[in-house]
C-alpha cells in the first residue's frame, strides 16, 4: 500500500525515483508537495485520527487507480509539529500519458483535503494559536469529480 502517515520528513526525489524504478511503460509522473506557509506563524501542528487516516488515504488512492490507468501512486502525509517551509504532504502519480497523471494527482489532493481526517493548528508569532478552518473552495474542488 503506497500510503504513509509519519512524523518524519520525506525525500521527494527518492520517492519519485522509487515510483518509476524498473517500469519503462511510464511516460508521465506528476507530483504535488504541500508546504507549511510561514506567513505570521512559528509552527503548524498536524493532528490526525490514527487508523481512519490510513484507511481514508488508501481508499482515495484506490479510487484514483479505478478511475485512471495508473502504473503507480503514492501518498505521504506528515503529522506532529512542523516548521514554516516544512513539507506536509506528498502525492505522486505515474501513468503512460500526462493527462491521467495530472488528473489523478489533482483528484487525490482534492479528496485528501476534504476526506482524510487531519486537522491543522497554527501557532502565531504573537503567541496565540488557532485551528485552521476548512475552506469552501476545497469542498467545491472535490465536487467537480462527481
Amino acid at each position: 500500500m503506497a500510503v504513509r502517515v509519519q512524523e518524519a520528513d520525506f525525500d521527494p526525489g527518492a520517492e519519485l525515483e522509487a515510483l518509476t524504478a524498473g517500469d519503462t511503460g511510464i511516460g508521465a509522473v506528476v507530483s504535488f508537495t504541500g508546504l507549511v506557509r510561514g506567513t505570521g506563524i512559528t509552527e503548524m501542528t498536524l493532528e490526525h485520527y490514527p487508523g481512519m487516516t490510513e484507511k481514508a488515504l488508501a481508499e482515495i488512492e484506490a479510487q484514483a487507480h479505478a478511475r485512471w490507468p495508473l502504473q503507480g501512486a503514492i501518498i505521504i502525509h506528515r503529522v506532529g509539529p512542523l516548521a514554516p517551509g516544512a513539507r506536509i504532504v506528498f502525492v505522486a502519480t505515474a501513468s503512460r500519458h500526462r493527462k491521467a497523471a495530472f488528473e489523478a494527482a489533482e483528484y487525490i489532493m482534492d479528496f485528501l483535503k476534504t476526506r482524510a481526517p487531519f486537522w491543522k493548528k497554527e501557532a502565531a508569532i504573537d503567541g496565540t494559536a488557532r485551528w485552521v478552518e476548512a475552506r469552501d473552495t476545497d469542498d467545491s474542488a472535490a465536487e467537480r469529480w462527481k
Binding site: Y49, G51, A134
Partner: protein, 83 residues
Amino acid sequence: MQVLYFAWLRERIGVGSEDVSPPDTVTTVGGLIDWLKTREDRYAAAFADTKSIRVAIDQEQADFDASIAGAREIALFPPVTGG
C-alpha cells in the same frame, strides 16, 4: 461504546476519547450528540454549532441520522483541514 474527539472539539471537551453508555432511546449520531449535550456544560458548548461537526462510525464517514447500533467507535470532529 468509544467516542473520540479531535482538534478543537477535543480541546473544548477536554478529553480525546471516552467510553459512554447512552440510554436505548439514543439510536442515531444526532441523538448521541443531543444526549452528550445534556451531560455537562462543556459538551453543550462544544456541540453548540452542529454545522461544524463531522462524524465517522467505525472509521467511515457518516451522517447525523446514521444509526449507532452495534458501533464500536464513534468519532466527532470539525471539518478536516489536511493536505
